[in-house]
């Protein structure tokens, strides 16, 4: 991908300038130490926001006129679906940064993002199925959005499978970064195609989200939950990345020192 680096070399940060933080971010050791400081705060924020959103959404938000209490699964389903899609872009952007600026850390972030995103996609599909039973009368309907989510799960599976297929860390990182980028180009095409396919085959009989816009009392807890899921995603990503840093840098002196210090104390 040298042509890609050359293309971006104009914007390549200069080491001497005030871009130094960018290079520091690329150092696994620096990231490990800093993320250790951030982690408690982000976790605390995630816990608070998620707890607020859950209690608000599940206990205090008004009941839906048609769906009764079953609509409340929306407070898990929608944020998970949201993050599943943003997660793919986060993964692809991390991979692109790795390919362009050759940052070790961004490949680790990319690898960490794949299973988290896949898990969120699965949660979105599963909660959708559970929700579908009382609403549509079936666990599975070939609806446009469900099908797009399923394809997204396949895309995640591909990136993960490629990541694990290579023994060489370098090849695994670069190959799956390229695949993630190809997937990113394709996601809008896939989503539009599936939408088009769905309208072609069955005129939508039940529309869930285009039902009259949600009442504020229902929408606010959803917003809180989405923010909470973003924070939770950040926590999971940081934890997975830290794991990956320790695994890949296990031969360096600072990780050894860290391990012996932990063992000694």
């Amino acid at each position: 991908m040298s042509w890609l680096s050359r293309l971006f070399s104009k914007w390549l940060p200069k080491e001497s300038s005030n871009w130094q933080w960018f290079y520091r971010l690329g150092s696994p050791r620096w990231f490990y130490q800093r993320s250790g400081q951030w982690l408690p705060w982000v976790s605390l924020a995630a816990l608070l926001v998620l707890a607020t959103g859950l209690v608000w959404g599940l206990a205090f938000a008004p009941e839906d006129a048609r769906q009764g209490n079953s609509f409340r699964i929306i407070y898990i389903h929608v944020p998970a679906a949201f993050l599943a899609q943003s997660g793919y872009f986060i993964m692809a952007i991390a991979g692109a940064i790795g390919l362009i600026w050759k940052m070790k850390i961004s490949y680790m972030v990319m690898k960490a993002a794949a299973p988290i995103g896949a898990a969120l996609t699965f949660i979105a599909l599963f909660t959708g199925a559970v929700w579908g039973k009382p609403t549509w009368g079936a666990y599975w309907v070939w609806d446009a959005r469900i099908t797009s989510m399923l394809i997204l799960l396949f895309l995640y599976a591909g990136v993960m499978a490629l990541q694990y297929a290579y023994h060489s860390v370098d090849a695994a990182s670069k190959a799956s970064a390229i695949l993630a980028l190809v997937g990113t180009v394709n996601i809008p095409i896939i989503n539009k195609s599936v939408d088009w396919w769905y309208t072609l085959h069955q005129p939508a009989t039940i529309k869930l989200t285009s039902a009259p816009s949600m009442h504020m009392d229902m929408f606010m807890p959803l917003l809180v939950m989405i923010v909470g899921f973003y924070l939770f995603y950040a926590v999971a990503l940081i934890l997975h990345t830290r794991n990956e840093i320790l695994r890949r840098e296990r031969k360096t002196s600072w990780v050894r020192e860290l391990a012996t210090a932990k063992a000694g104390s």
Partner: protein, 231 residues
């Protein structure tokens, strides 16, 4: 200077196209397998579903498209595999030409030996599956454009998995989700024609997908080969 570069670029494309076609001609048996697979699997459908023409007619377009996709997928694995094993892929990687052009040459050869035969056989399968008369021209047109897209996108997958021992199955996993838009518009082209609608719009979208894949897939495959072939 520009004409010199242009000639060089062209020779990269044409040389690899000619070479791969020659190799395919010498291994005619291998080239026939996707087509034979295509025909054989279509025997399974009446056996598995129903022999009744009225029922088959409904699924004909979709089934032919699914089978063409699978046949292409099976052949994708071989695109770079033998070149990787005998070292000519290394030679391709160190040529002075822009790498996407030799790759485009190889993909063109792949389409000429896989997608084109599948396209040409498809009317026979349509006949066997009692496809309505209006569907034949759209079927051939959509398959011609669609299998070209499949070859191009598949080349990226083949490049990503070339050095893996069990790359074939992984390749299918990587590429299948990317194939889904192609099959949606491919079958839609035929079903529009069968329903008496104007089938050019979905075909035009296939054309757009083809244009985008010609522009982007060789680049992605070149990047992938540089990463994977050396590992």
């Amino acid at each position: 200077m520009t004409s010199h570069v242009a000639r060089k670029m062209d020779s990269g494309f044409a040389a690899w196209l000619r070479r791969d076609l020659l190799l395919a001609y010498r291994r005619r048996g291998e080239v026939a397998s996707p087509v034979i697979f295509f025909i054989m699997v279509s025997t399974l459908i009446p056996l598995g579903l129903t022999p009744e023409a009225a029922e088959l007619e409904k699924v004909a377009a979709g089934m032919i498209w699914v089978m063409a996709l699978l046949a292409t997928l099976l052949s994708m694995d071989a695109l770079f595999a033998s070149d990787y094993q005998d070292g000519s892929l290394e030679q391709m990687l160190i040529t002075p030409q822009l790498l996407p052009l030799p790759i485009l040459g190889k993909v063109t050869a792949h389409w000429l030996t896989t997608g084109l035969p599948l396209t040409l056989v498809s009317p026979v399968l349509g006949l066997m599956m009692s496809l309505p008369n209006a569907g034949y021209v759209p079927l051939v047109c959509s398959l011609a454009l669609g299998t070209a897209c499949l070859s191009l996108v598949g080349a990226v997958g083949a490049a990503l998995t070339v050095s893996l021992r069990k790359g074939g199955l992984l390749l299918s996993l990587l590429v299948m989700p990317l194939y889904m838009p192609v099959i949606i518009f491919g079958t839609a082209t035929v079903s529009y024609a069968v329903d008496g609608l104007n089938w050019l719009p979905p075909l035009a979208i296939l054309g757009a997908m083809f244009a985008a894949s010609v522009a982007l897939c060789p680049l992605a495959a070149a990047g992938a080969l540089r990463v994977t072939a050396s590992n």
